[in-house]
């Protein structure tokens, strides 16, 4: 593909259903079949099983060839699946029998098997042309070349790539397994003992799952390479895990994320290198990178658990609390002013009002002035400057006063409640009340009021403001 002549990027892609279409379909099938099982692997902390299996199947391929003498894909498939399942069983066995750490037992098994496979291939090299390279890269680009003719009854026969047929079958098997045994899988994953005590063996589920992972890994890696298998087994599932707490939803999301990544990955593989003056590159790797991009987005932006939403929420909460506190502080100052010493005078005596408030509220001067500006803008506070009385003190507006009153009421009601109902000591209630006041709405205020027999004064002797009418 030649970069377009005009300036800027041309987002339209040279698309051919016969080539790119089938490649994307193969990638999506791989993504869906892997994601269906991958969710359970991630939840059961067996994520690296796919990696181990797909490395270890090499001797299976070689042995199948040495025994059968053909490169027919059926034999190869069988050999690879057998060794794949063996890898899972063997690492499980070493883990349990030898009390070896799970990761280590996997590492021992797959590296040894991989080495055995390499040697077998070398020994058989004069008779077989098995390229270990394609284990890594796969050959998803050649998907459309190798086709089977499928004749469906009542329809004209279609020529479908072999890979697509195989992956469709695997996808259907996995989907059937997950749908039929959803309850059992769920129980075996989250509470294996409950599963066993309720009449079916969590072990059987475990072994079926491992077998299907082996079948899926083999089916996928033949066409897309083993790295993509690992990526599709783990990454979309982990991404979905960040987005939801429900298993069904997680599986669905993982499938969608995987499929979209496969599609986006192919486009990127075709397009991105051309921006830098290169030809298109391998699709499988780019699909893996696309799942990684999806994961990164989820880590950063997942509404509930994303790092950025979490940070933002925390900052927003801090800001709300600060502005509340400023409002309440002004109210308390107003409350303490007397005829002889009006508010303006007592406040103006402070040399640096903002610094003084910052000191009380344990924050910075800058934050106070920001909060005050915010309140002025929201018309909760009158800035001294546009005040007729020509003092430079911020004072509450009617609106601000009623809001502040509500806050202080919450605070003092809580103090009262903590003393009368929770039996907290007087010197400990302020902090507690201070924390709770920000989360107390009108309804809760009324309930506190009833619970504490509608007191006039809080435990420190300050009056509790009466409930005012809700503001429009």
């Amino acid at each position: 593909m030649i970069p377009p002549a005009q300036s800027g990027f041309d987002w339209s892609v040279d698309w051919s259903w016969q080539l790119d279409g089938w490649i994307v379909v193969a990638g999506m099938l791989c993504a869906v079949s892997s994601s269906l099982l991958g969710c359970f692997l991630v939840l059961r902390r067996m994520s690296l099983l796919g990696d181990a299996i797909s490395h270890a199947v090499l001797p299976g391929l070689a042995a199948a060839f040495l025994i059968s003498g053909t490169r027919s894909s059926g034999w190869m498939f069988l050999g690879a699946v057998i060794v794949g399942v063996l890898t899972a069983l063997l690492s499980d066995w070493i883990h349990v029998r030898g009390e070896v750490d799970e990761g280590a037992s996997m590492g021992v098994v797959f590296t040894t098997l991989f080495a055995a496979g390499l040697i077998m291939i070398v020994l058989a090299a004069d008779r077989v042309d098995l390229d270990p390279g394609c284990v890594l890269y796969g050959a998803i680009e050649s998907t459309p070349l190798d086709r089977w003719t499928i004749s469906l009854p009542g329809l004209a026969s279609v020529r479908v790539p072999r890979v697509v047929v195989v992956l469709s079958i695997v996808t259907l098997i996995n989907a059937a397994f997950v749908l039929l045994f959803f309850k059992e899988l769920k129980m075996a994953t989250f509470d294996a003992e409950l599963a066993t005590s309720s009449g079916f063996s969590a072990k059987v589920i475990h072994y079926v799952l491992m077998t299907l992972v082996a079948v899926t890994a083999v089916a996928c890696f033949e066409s897309v390479g083993n790295i993509l298998v690992v990526a599709m087994l783990v990454v979309p599932a982990a991404t979905a895990y960040l987005l939801t707490d429900r298993l069904g939803m997680m599986i669905g999301l993982a499938c969608v994320i995987g499929a979209v990544s496969a599609w986006a990955g192919h486009i990127a593989a075709v397009e991105v290198p051309t921006w830098f003056g290169f030809r298109s590159t391998t699709t499988a790797g780019m699909m893996a990178v696309a799942t990684g991009a999806a994961f990164t987005l989820a880590v950063l932006f997942s509404p509930k658990r994303g790092l950025i939403p979490q940070w933002t929420r925390k900052q927003w909460l801090r800001w709300t609390i600060l502005t509340d506190d400023v409002l309440a502080l002004l109210y308390r100052m107003e409350e303490r002013s007397t005829e002889e010493r009006p508010l303006a005078e007592s406040m103006a005596m402070r040399e640096d009002l903002n610094a003084w408030m910052a000191d009380i509220l344990l924050t910075k001067r800058f934050a106070i002035s920001l909060a005050l500006k915010f309140h002025v803008w929201r018309r909760r506070v009158m800035d001294g400057r546009d005040n007729e009385s020509a003092t430079l003190v911020p004072t509450l507006t009617e609106l601000g006063r009623s809001e502040a009153e509500s806050l202080v009421r919450s605070h003092r009601l809580w103090e009262q409640y903590l003393v009368t109902r929770v039996d907290l000591e007087g010197d400990r209630i302020h902090q507690q009340a201070h924390r709770l006041e920000h989360f107390t709405d009108r309804q809760l205020q009324d309930r506190l009021d009833v619970q504490t027999d509608s007191p006039d004064k809080d435990p420190h002797g300050s009056p509790i403001p009466s409930a005012n009418d809700p503001q429009p």
């Binding site: 990761g103 040894t112 593989a269 391998t282 780019m286 658990r305």
Partner: protein, 444 residues
């Protein structure tokens, strides 16, 4: 053949010498470092790290080539590998700390995504004028057999560095592996130490990657340490053994492939090390499979024997007149199967605990057997008494609970029990049977 073997063993070829010594040094250092990662339950960090190095290698190559330099120069590639390996480690840490994704998935994510990116970039490097990827691909499969002396020197230097760091920080690393929280509370800079350990892993992985390839370096980090664990419970011995196993595996594997030049040396090394694992797994002196089976069986046999002797003692105790106990009586006494009881009796009579009258199927205690049976019964009842008086266990249940532990009581504990139970025991040497039988009024 013999001549060739001699040539390899005596390291006559310069080439063989470089390969074998280089691999052996790497095996030694990797075995040492692997112990710490294994004990920190991070065995596969090397795996993720090795995969994560690939994009760095490709980027370094692309960058330097685009700048007009020699992209294939080793220091450049290794620098790239190290930087992206560290990125990989950082990503794993961020994922583990910042999200609810667990360690295994974090490794899988970093491993596959970084490697995917690396393959992409390699694909692009291939399109450059001098970008045939032969040199770069050796990072995946390794090129052990074509190691040159500068490679061996690099491995030697890096290995020495790692060995020095690990031994210098031995006490700190040990604490980090076994009790991180305690290390933290003692004021050790845990995060810094962890980073130090990771750095050592990075160094070994990157150097090994270049010399022997991806899969092999994982094997060298994991297999020797896992093998050594079967032989010992002490960290220092584990480290020594692991290093030796790693070194021996490399020596044997490299020598084998030097003799049979067709076989890839990397794979041969893994197989040789794997063989070491297999042997350790079965015959390891501390946790090997055979020693465990043997230990369990001899414990079971001794428990069976003790139960038999006690059973006999109690039967005779209840009826001082009787001379022998019949087969049926014994069969009813416990839930022994016929086969098992027969075996127990056989052993006991062979060891001289009991005398048997084979024709009448009757059994009696020998003098030696009676002494032992008395000792065992006494121990059992002491323990029962202790449980009843000091652990508040109901007399109906006490037999079962006593059964679970009496077989491992040592003489000191028995003496201690005696002194504890002085008041209950009075002057009697043999405590009375506290449960069911006496409760039903049978005099004991």
């Amino acid at each position: 053949m013999g001549e060739q073997l001699w040539r390899v063993i005596s390291l006559q070829d310069h080439n063989t010498r470089v390969v074998i010594l280089g691999a052996a040094m790497l095996g030694f250092a990797a075995g040492l470092v692997g112990c710490f990662t294994l004990l920190r339950r991070r065995a596969l960090v090397g795996d993720a790290l090795a995969h994560a190095a690939l994009p760095g290698i490709a980027i370094a190559f692309l960058w330097v080539t685009a700048m007009g330099g020699n992209g294939r120069s080793l220091p450049v590639l290794l620098l790239g590998a190290t930087i992206s390996g560290l990125f990989g480690i950082a990503s794993i840490l961020i994922i583990r700390r910042g999200t609810r994704i667990k360690e295994d998935a974090a490794l899988g994510i970093v491993l596959s995504v970084f490697f995917g990116l690396g393959l992409e970039l390699l694909g692009i490097a291939q399109q450059m004028k001098n970008g045939n990827k032969a040199g770069l691909e050796s990072f995946i499969y390794g090129k052990t057999a074509s190691m040159v002396s500068s490679d061996a020197w690099l491995i030697g230097g890096a290995s020495l560095l790692c060995v020095v760091i690990c031994l210098g920080l031995f006490k700190e690393f040990k604490l980090l592996c076994f009790d991180e929280a305690f290390a933290g509370s003692r004021g050790y800079p845990v995060v810094l130490l962890d980073a130090g350990l990771m750095t050592v892993v990075v160094v070994i992985t990157i150097v090994g990657l270049q010399a022997v390839g991806l899969v092999l370096v994982i094997a060298l980090l994991v297999i020797p340490a896992a093998s050594a664990r079967f032989w010992t419970d002490r960290l220092i011995w584990m480290i020594v053994l692991s290093s030796l196993i790693g070194m021996t595996g490399c020596l044997v594997g490299a020598a084998a492939s030097a003799m049979l030049p067709r076989l890839p040396s990397g794979a041969m090394i893994v197989l040789a090390t794997g063989l070491g694992f297999l042997v350790s797994f079965f015959v390891g002196a501390r946790r090997g499979l055979l020693i465990r089976i043997w230990r369990r069986q001899s414990l079971n046999a001794s428990i069976d024997r003790q139960h038999l002797l006690r059973e006999l003692y109690e039967l005779f105790e209840n009826d001082p007149q009787r001379l022998a106990v019949s087969w049926e009586e014994l069969l009813q006494a416990r839930s022994w199967s016929k086969k098992r009881l027969r075996r127990i009796l056989e052993h006991a009579s062979k060891d001289g605990w009991i005398s048997e009258n084979i024709t009448k199927m009757e059994f009696a205690l020998t003098e030696r057997g009676e002494t032992e049976a008395r000792r065992l019964t006494r121990r059992h009842r002491l323990w029962e008494l202790y449980l009843i008086h000091h652990a508040d266990i109901a007399p109906q249940r006490v037999d079962r609970d006593a059964d679970a532990i009496e077989h491992v009581l040592d003489p000191e504990t028995v003496a201690e029990l005696e002194s504890l139970l002085n008041a209950e025991l009075g002057e009697r040497r043999m405590p009375t049977d506290p449960h069911a039988k006496s409760a039903e009024g049978v005099p004991s």
